[in-house]
Amino acid sequence: MALFFRLEEAVSDLIHDGDSVAMEGFTHLIPFAAGHEIIRQRLRNLTLIRMTPDLIYDQLIGAGCARKLIFSWGGNPGVGSLHRLRDAVERGWPNPIEIEEHSHAAMANAYAAGASNLPCAVFRGYEGVDLAQLNPNIRTVTCPFTGERLACVPAIRPDVAVIHARRADREGNVLLEGIVGVQKEAVLSAKRSLVTVEEVVDNFGPRSPNAVILPKWTVSAISVVPGGARPSYAHGYYSRDNSFYVKWDEVSKSRESFLEWLRLEVTA
């Protein structure tokens, strides 16, 4: 049953050292505020799961929170590299990081399989590519009807999912809308879940009968954090701060400027 908590409390109740954590949001609604709270609480040895690690995981990795990363595309969208991720992979700073790498199709199917309480996801993919040889979690099953070999990856079943949404109602139901990515699947696949929201409304009012809603009993905790997705965006609330994404390329390039940013903007 979803209850409302301060972000600090929700993070410390739900997320612990060594947990696997999926923070999702596909360009839209990336839960940056929750990420910064994880950094402030100095959580360590996390397995971070996310299709597009993006700036949010660049920050967590640079801050030393991560032991392992499960992902499918690790870049700064439209800008270039994730320098902190690269520094961890290429030079082991601030600590070596294990990576488990997939394709988007595999990750999307693995989240859906997790939400469906399946041990694995079966799909078409990974034909003839090197990743299939290197990642022992890419296997195959054979269709018992046609004999076709299909790709198979483990379901994603994180300890905790963290997402940002536009709004919750007073009962604790959460409305997802617009670019919904894999957020619903992330929450349904996880043992525990934290949703940060822009605002709480009395009720959602008139809406599509097929609105994408997480009922209160699927969410562990809700925190009201206006602006909680910045510099990503929340449709109808604020736009993507594209200049920050560009600026991040500079900020994150050196360890020194990154640590300075971290001190000034997150941990201070």
């Binding site: 499918s72 595309w73 790498e101 988007h104 199709a105 090197d130």
Partner: protein, 256 residues
């Protein structure tokens, strides 16, 4: 009328799009090419972005795959698992755009690492949607700047299957989609040779020589029996592209 090599690339790619294509669009040049096509000869072109937006008609170019503009102008927006299951794997996308850090003569791509996978010299972003875009779209186009560093004899890592390491693997794996059918660069256009599936130069952009192309290709590049000359961008094409870029710059400036 003068134009940049990037404008030439964009326009050449745009021309290859059909009015009835359903395109899986990537950010950057593919997005520009698709929207130029939509605003010129292919008004019914359907654009799909992997963030889940179906049949979007953005007035400006998105900076990310999931910009609000894409959702606002879409016929509808589906979840990412649905996008990959019902739409891409479902076989409903006729054309995908791909790029990468390296390409080989059979149109295989590397966007994962330079150097060894376990101890990379450069860690690149990785596959993203490309692996399954390459196998599940009806056909794909590759758009890349051409240089001897990017058009290589041997990929450091095969992220995305073209026609395979010997040009035969794609067929041998039983993949029924056509795979890469066109490579558009800032210098020329290459297409797969019928039997070998090796990419050969079929059209040179205005002012580009065969020598330039060879200097910028890491394998002994071959040329078709008759090599066309790419028509330069028309005044109309350039106007549409530049207005689109100008609108985009203006909109993104006012964002911040």
């Amino acid at each position: 009328m003068s134009y940049t090599s990037s404008e030439m690339m964009t326009v050449a790619a745009a021309r290859a799009l059909r009015n009835d294509d359903v395109c899986f669009v990537g950010i950057g040049l593919p997005s520009a090419a698709c929207n130029v096509a939509r605003l010129t000869h292919a008004p019914d072109l359907t654009l799909i972005y992997e963030s889940g937006t179906i049949a979007t008609r953005p007035a400006i170019l998105p900076l990310s795959i999931g910009d609000g503009e894409l959702c606002e102008t879409a016929l509808t927006t589906v979840s990412v698992p649905e996008m990959f299951r019902y739409w891409l794997q479902g076989g409903r996308i006729t054309l995908g755009f791909l790029g990468g850090a390296q390409i080989d003569r059979y149109g295989n791509l590397n966007s994962t690492v330079i150097g060894d996978y376990a101890k990379p010299k450069v860690r690149l972003p990785g596959a993203g949607g490309a692996t399954e875009i390459a196998s599940q779209c009806g056909r794909t186009f590759v758009v890349m700047q051409q240089s001897a560093r990017t058009f290589v004899e041997k990929l450091d890592f095969l992220t995305t299957l073209g026609h395979g390491r010997t040009g035969r693997e794609r067929r041998e794996l039983g993949i029924r989609t056509a795979g890469p059918q066109l490579v558009v660069t800032d210098l020329c256009m290459l297409q797969p040779e019928q039997d070998t599936c090796e990419f050969i130069v079929t059209s040179l952009h205005p002012g580009v020589t065969r020598e330039q192309v060879q200097q910028n290709t890491g394998w002994p590049v071959r040329f078709a029996d008759t090599v066309a000359q790419t028509a330069g961008p028309t005044a109309d094409e350039l106007a549409v592209l530049r207005e689109l870029n100008e609108r985009t710059a203006r909109a993104h400036r006012s964002d911040s």
